[in-house]
Subunit: 519 residues, 2 copies
C-alpha cells in the first residue's frame, strides 16, 4: 500500500462501516453527544485445541492511546463518506452529520480507564472502559478491539512459551509469517509477555531493544554455490563477528558436518582469545540433537556455549523436548538440567499467529448510558447463555490476594462499592444463582483495584510505563498466580466473581429487559 | 505506535536482523553486489485440521512493489545499525558497510518475476523470483515473505468460503479480530479471493469499494437503555436509511421479538413506497433460523428480502448450514434453494485469521548465483526430506490445460526450455525417481507461462491490474480448475511436475552437494 493511502486506511476510517451508520443515526436522534459507557473484555481464555490458557497478559494500551490521539476526520474522510450511497442511489450520510464529524470527529474528549499492560487478566473483567459521546465511543469500538485483542493474545502466548522454556532466553522470530504490518504489534506484545528479544529490526529500534539474529541457511548455501565449503562459511562469519559467533549447523548435516565444523571454528576462535557463543539447530529431532550437540561441545571444552533451538516451536513442543532431554541426556553422561540451562528458544509462526487459537474474543459492550436528566442508567445485552450476558453498570475490578499472598479471585464491584471496607467478603458466582464464596478478613492479605484512570475527557492522567516496567509487572503478577492456574495443560480455573450488589443489579435488569422484549 | 515510529518500523528495517548481519558479511567478502536469484514459493496448502485446501489464490504483489519503492536506508536507520554492539561491546556493523548501505541500500536495482495476483497457484512453484545484488536480495527476504504469505493465505480462504456459499454475496467482517494493522492487507486479500465487500471502511476507501455495514446490537441496546423498545430502534433506523433497511434481529429474541418487529417495520416501509433489504441473524442455530425467517418474511410478502448470516462462519459451517436448510425447508413448505439464494454471509474471525491454519509456509530460497566469471551457477539447499529440497536454477512455471480446457498440471522448466515446442510432454514427479507422466499433443489444449516480468533492474515493466481485473482472473482460473481439486474436503491433489532436464539438474546438484558436505 502506498504511504499516502496507508495514512487514510489507518486513520479514523480504520473502523467498521456500521459504527458510522449508527453514529449518523444517533446524530439524527439528537443523541450523538449523549454520554455512554462501554466495557471491553474477553469472554474466554485462548484455547489452542490440545491445551488452553489459564490466564492472559494484558497488552496494547499504549498504541491504542497513540491511535486515539492522531485519528480524526479530515476533508478526505468526509468526502469519502459524502460519496457513499445506498440502494436507492441516495447519499447515506447527511451534510449536517458530516459537518459535525468534521468538527468533533476525534477521540479527544473521551474518558478511559484501563488495566495496565503486563498485568495478568481473566475473562469477563473489564480491561478497558470507555466513556464519552456515544457516536464517538461507537466509532472507537473497532480500532480499540483491533489494537487490544491481538496484543493480549500474543503476550499471553509468549508468557506460556517462556514458562515452558523455564525462563530461558526466548527470541521472537515470526515476522515473515504473521499478518503483514501487524507483526510489529505482535513483536511488542511478545516482548511484554515473555520474549526477551525479537529478530524484527525495525520494532526493536522503536522500542529500544537490540534485535537478535545471526545467519540463515542461505549464507552457507551461497558459499557452497560459489564452490566453497560450510567450514569456509563459518570461518567468514567468525572473521566478521568473532565476539558473536553463533553458527547455524544444519544446512548440510547437523551431526556429520555442521557441528564438527562449528567446533573446528570455535577451537580456532579460542586460540585467538575469543569466546564462541554457540550453535543453532533448526531441523531434525531437536531434543536428540541438543543432547548430541551438548556432548560434542562439552568434549571439545565448550560447555559454556548456548544451543539455540528453532523450527515450529511452541509451549507443548518445548515441554516435550525438555522431557526427552531428561531421558536422553544420561545416556551421554550428561546432566539433563545442564543441557536445558544452555538452551535458547527462537519461536516464529506459532507465537506471532498464536497457532491453534488465532484470535482473542474481546468484545466491547454498552454497560451504561445517561438519560435526558443526566442520570446514568445501567444497560445490558441479554443472551440465552447467562455467561454471555455482560455485567451492567460502571464497575471496578478488585484483585483479592489470599493468605499466601497469591491472587485468589478477581471481584467485579460497582464503582460505589469498596470491598476493602467489607468483611467478610462475599464473592458471587458470575452466572449461577445462589453460589457464593465467603472470604473472612484473615483469609485476605490485600485487595487491589486493577482499573486505572488513563484519560479524563481526553487528557492523559496516566503515566505510561516503559516496556521494561511492563515486563516487571508481568513477572510480578505471574509470581503471585497460583501454580495451578499457570499450568500449561488443564489449568485450574481462576475465580472471577461479582459482589452481591452487582449480581442483584444484573438480575433486576435481565428481568426488566425480558419484559421489554415481550411488550 | 506513533506515526513517526511507524514510518521507521515499516521502512527498510522491516526485516529480520540476520539479513543485515549476512549482508555485512557479504560486504566483507566483497560479494555484496554479486547477482543472486531467490525463488519464493510455499511448500504445502493450508491445512485447517478437519479439512485442507487443494489450491491457493496468489495475492500481495502490488503492496510488495509499493514497499520496495519506498524503503531505503536513511540517516536514522544507519545510526541505529551503528549503535548495535555484540557480546564484546564492539560494533557489529563497520563504517564502510554502513556507507555502502546509505548509498545503495534500497530495492531500486532488483529484478523481479511474479505470478500475477488472483491466479490459482500450487505448492513448490515459484510465485515470485528475485534477482539482484545478494546483500539487497537477502534484506528483501523478510518483507517479501511478510507481504505475500498472509495475503495468499487469506485470498485462498475467501475463495473457499465463497465456494461453500455457492457464490452468494460474501462480506469480510474480521477487522476487530485480525492482527492489528495487518487487517488491511487481509481485507484486500479477501476481496481478491472471494469476498465481495468488507466492513473495513478505510481500506474500502483506498481500494474504491463501498464499505458494508448497518447496525450492531449496541444500537438496539442503547434504545432499550433509554427506555425505548426494539421496534423504536428499528423505526429510527428505517427513518434514516429507508432505502437500506437491513435489521439485526437477535438482540432480544430472534423469533419472538426481532423478526416480528422487523416485519412490522417492513410493512410500514412498503406502505411508504420503500423496498426493505432484509434481516441479519448473528446468533443461535443459523440454519433453523434462516428457514423460520424465510417463512415469516414470505408470509408477510417479503420474499425478495435478504437474510444475512454472521457469527463464527467458515466454509465448513456454511456447508453444514446449507445441508440443514435442505433438510428443514420442506417442513415449512419452502424451497430450500430459494432460501439459500437469498442468503448473504458475513465472515469475520475465521476468514481474517484463517482459523485452523493461520500461516502460509512461504519460503525464499537461493536457487542460482553468479560466479566470479559472471556465469550463473544453480544452487540447492539439501534436505533429508526430498520434497523439501528446493528446485535449483532459473525457472519458468508452465500451466498445462487438458483436452477439457482444464488445468491438469503445473510444469517447472528451466528458462531455456519451452514445453510448447516439445511433444509428447514428459512431466516428472517432483520427488520420486522414475515416475513420469506423458502427455501427447492431443491431450493438451494449451500451455501457458505463469511467471511475468515485473521489475527489470528496478524498472516496472508490468502493467498493474486493477482489483477488479484481479478478481476476474481468479474467477477464470477457478473455472478452469478440476472440480475435484476445488473440493472443500479431501481435494484431489493437483500435479506439480518437473521437466526431465530440471529433474536431472536437481539430482546432479544433490550428488555434488552431498560430496561437498562430506569433504
Amino acid at each position: 500500500m502506498k504511504k499516502v493511502n496507508q495514512a487514510v486506511a489507518e486513520g479514523i476510517l480504520f473502523t467498521d462501516m456500521y459504527q458510522l451508520t449508527m453514529a449518523h443515526l444517533y446524530f439524527r436522534m439528537g443523541w450523538h453527544e449523549r454520554p455512554a459507557q462501554f466495557d471491553h473484555f474477553f469472554r474466554s481464555y485462548p484455547d489452542y485445541g490440545a491445551h488452553k490458557a489459564g490466564y492472559c497478559i494484558n497488552a496494547g494500551l499504549e498504541w491504542l492511546l497513540d491511535w486515539m490521539q492522531e485519528a480524526r476526520f479530515g476533508e478526505e474522510e468526509i468526502n469519502f463518506l459524502r460519496q457513499q450511497t445506498g440502494q436507492g442511489g441516495r447519499r447515506l450520510f447527511a451534510d449536517d452529520f458530516l459537518h459535525w464529524l468534521r468538527e468533533y470527529g476525534h477521540m479527544h474528549n473521551l474518558s478511559l480507564w484501563a488495566i495496565p499492560e503486563g498485568r495478568v487478566v481473566h475473562p469477563n473483567i473489564p480491561l478497558t472502559v470507555v466513556q464519552g459521546p456515544i457516536a464517538l465511543a461507537q466509532i472507537l469500538e473497532t480500532p480499540l478491539l483491533n489494537l487490544l485483542n491481538y496484543p493480549t493474545l500474543i503476550a499471553t502466548r509468549a508468557a506460556r512459551i517462556s514458562q515452558a522454556g523455564r525462563g530461558q532466553l526466548l527470541l521472537e522470530f515470526g515476522m515473515r509469517r504473521g499478518q503483514e504490518r501487524g507483526v510489529n504489534a505482535g513483536a511488542r506484545a511478545a516482548l511484554i509477555g515473555g520474549a526477551d528479544f525479537t529478530s524484527n529490526t525495525g520494532i526493536s529500534h522503536v522500542l529500544g531493544y537490540p534485535p537478535k539474529g545471526t545467519h540463515a541457511h542461505s549464507m552457507v548455501q551461497f558459499f557452497l554455490a560459489l564452490g566453497y565449503s560450510e567450514l569456509d562459511a563459518f570461518q567468514a562469519y567468525a572473521d566478521v563477528y568473532p565476539d558473536d559467533c553463533l553458527l547455524l549447523v544444519d544446512t548440510i548435516n547437523t551431526l556429520e558436518s555442521g557441528l564438527p565444523n562449528a567446533i573446528k571454528l570455535f577451537e580456532k576462535l579460542r586460540r585467538q582469545g575469543y569466546r564462541p557463543i554457540g550453535v543453532r539447530l533448526d531441523s531434525g529431532d531437536l531434543a536428540y540433537l541438543s543432547v548430541r550437540a551438548a556432548a560434542m561441545l562439552n568434549q571439545a571444552g565448550f560447555a559454556d556455549t548456548s544451543i539455540v533451538l528453532s523450527n515450529q516451536l511452541d509451549e507443548m513442543t518445548i515441554l516435550q523436548i525438555l522431557a526427552q532431554i531428561q531421558e536422553e541426556a544420561p545416556r551421554y553422561n550428561l546432566d539433563a538440567d545442564e543441557v536445558i540451562a544452555r538452551l535458547v528458544y527462537g519461536v516464529g509462526t506459532n507465537l506471532i499467529t498464536s497457532a491453534g487459537d488465532g484470535a482473542l474474543d474481546g468484545v466491547y459492550k454498552l454497560v451504561s448510558t445517561q438519560d435526558e436528566g443526566g442520570v446514568w442508567r445501567p444497560a445490558i445485552k441479554l443472551s440465552e447463555n447467562p455467561v454471555k450476558t455482560p455485567n451492567p453498570g460502571s464497575k471496578q475490578v478488585w484483585r483479592v490476594y489470599d493468605e499466601r499472598g497469591l491472587a485468589t479471585a478477581d471481584l467485579l464491584a460497582l464503582t460505589d462499592e469498596d470491598p476493602r471496607l467489607v468483611s467478610p467478603l462475599y464473592l458471587h458466582h458470575p452466572a449461577e444463582p445462589g453460589i457464593t464464596r465467603t472470604l473472612a478478613a484473615a483469609e485476605i492479605t490485600s485487595i487491589e483495584p486493577l482499573l486505572q484512570p488513563v484519560l479524563e475527557a481526553g487528557r492523559l492522567v496516566y503515566s505510561l510505563p516503559t516496556l521494561e516496567m511492563i515486563r516487571e509487572q508481568r513477572r510480578a503478577d505471574l509470581a503471585r498466580l497460583d501454580s495451578g492456574v499457570r499450568r500449561l495443560l488443564n489449568p485450574h480455573i481462576y475465580h472471577v466473581s461479582l459482589t452481591p450488589k452487582l449480581w442483584q443489579l444484573k438480575q433486576d435488569l435481565i428481568t426488566v429487559y425480558r419484559q421489554k422484549g415481550k411488550s
